[in-house]
Symmetry: C2
Subunit: 285 residues, 2 copies
């Protein structure tokens, strides 16, 4: 497995692969890899001749008061995990390589970014889109893999790839969970023992909302209320948002009719966790 730090070297490697007729999969990550990431790496390795994992803690997607400085980093552990999962290269550029002096371009997206995390983290998706575009143009993949935990990010990246005519298939993969339902996240490492014990409330609450919907409740407000009720049983949990949205456009829904998600962000102590669940309205509704 190769470790690549320079954009130009990454492009040379990916171009050589593509020129040789090999397909390339990219798994963009901020490192601190967990089983959720590894499921993406394995999926990419199955579906492509070559797999690149990018490991880059992207400064421009963090707000001023967010956790950029303390975000967990462990490259040597990430490298050994990637090697075992079948990656062919890890792309690990420095911030100066990605954003040299004079850098002043950004990708902005409207509509899909107006709700959910876009509302509480106003510059977040600008940073995500910008770095993902740069990673796409560095690793030149045929397919790129993102987890469904960041459902809004997946929708945003898919939209960007389509809007900019990028011939890249953006593949979403199922959320990987701990045994007690907590969605895997690098940020779970921030939780104290008591917080970790409380954290499964998020998935439990979303499951309660989805169950209500399966039983025939299609009113978004009713489903959201049920999720908030369950969350309110956990004193350590403080809701950022709970919203029922269209699965593609991320727009808030009044009524669940087609593909929809219930998405939530919750502070457990100081740590902000996100999760979501697909809603399936009972046939006939």
């Amino acid at each position: 497995m190769e470790l690549v730090h320079k954009i130009s070297e990454m492009q040379a490697l990916a171009s050589a692969w593509r020129a040789a007729g090999l397909s390339v999969g990219l798994v963009p990550t901020m490192g601190s890899l967990h089983e959720g990431h590894m499921s993406l790496v394995r999926k990419s390795a199955e579906e492509n001749d070559r797999t690149v994992v990018s490991v880059f803690v992207n400064p421009i997607q963090f707000g001023a008061n967010e956790d950029f400085d303390r975000y967990p980093r462990d490259l040597s552990r990430d490298l050994s995990l990637c090697g075992r999962a079948g990656a062919d290269a890890v792309f690990n550029p420095s911030a100066a390589e990605m954003y040299p002096e004079g850098f002043c371009s950004r990708v902005e997206m409207s509509v899909l970014t107006e709700n959910l995390c876009g509302k509480t983290r106003p510059a977040h998706f600008r940073g995500v889109c910008t770095v993902v575009l740069k990673l796409f143009l560095a690793a030149l993949p045929d397919r790129a893999y993102f987890g469904q935990k960041d459902a809004q990010q997946l929708a945003v990246v898919r939209r960007m790839a389509r809007d900019f005519n990028m011939r890249i298939e953006v593949v979403g993969a199922p959320i990987v969970r701990e045994a007690d339902g907590l969605a895997m996240s690098s940020r779970n490492a921030y939780l104290t023992a008591a917080e970790r014990a409380a954290a499964p409330c998020l998935f439990r609450a979303l499951s309660g909302g989805a169950e209500l919907c399966r039983r025939g409740v299609v009113e978004a407000r009713g489903i959201e209320r049920r999720v908030r009720e369950i969350l309110s049983e956990t004193p350590l949990a403080r809701v950022d948002y709970v919203e029922v949205v269209d699965a593609e456009t991320m727009r808030p829904l009044e009524t669940v009719a087609g593909p929809a998600l219930c998405a939530a962000a919750v502070y457990i102590g100081e740590t902000r966790l996100i999760d979501n669940i697909a809603l399936e309205a009972r046939a006939g509704h």
Copy 2:
């Protein structure tokens, strides 16, 4: 020569060329081609195995009160000019092909867009960057050609290509002028006979500023004042801006020391014309 309307067809054509080892040049235009455009097409045809000319009047780079509707269009004339100049394909997508329903991504650029045309046309460069990124990802060129008349556009596109890791050489080509000095522009067609007679004042004024600089005046304000003085002799001319800027960053200068431009935008009647001239400070300054 092929006429291509669909993005996917343009990509298929360009990919096939590149897979066959042929280099591709792109000349992005809004059509209504004049000798300035044709100099770019010929340059591209000399420097590349294949040349694509895009002809697309890009709605999102026009402001609400600007001339999108009346911008001159003549595709059949453009096609015959491109064929004679050595183009291999004309890419002429519809607005619906470029911006389908749900399109919501944009490229934003700071710094380079804060002055000159960026100040009086606030959304202009967002539209330019977005369409150029899309054209680059549709025509997949090795090189792209832009005229130096739109000096700020050239600097912005160059910066974007670098910022986004695009392996595309952005080539600038000299301004082509009418015999009386007026820079060629599709918008010259808007001028009445009296306005056309007055319009060379713009190049005359810029030349006066450049001459002052050659004679040793390096203070930007002094050069700008000279340009404004000469323009004030033409009653039909109304200044939008006259500014001495760094040739790469487009930032206003106090003193001309390195590569610099004097750029101006002037209304001749209702028609807004732009032009610029390189400044060369006398050695020793």
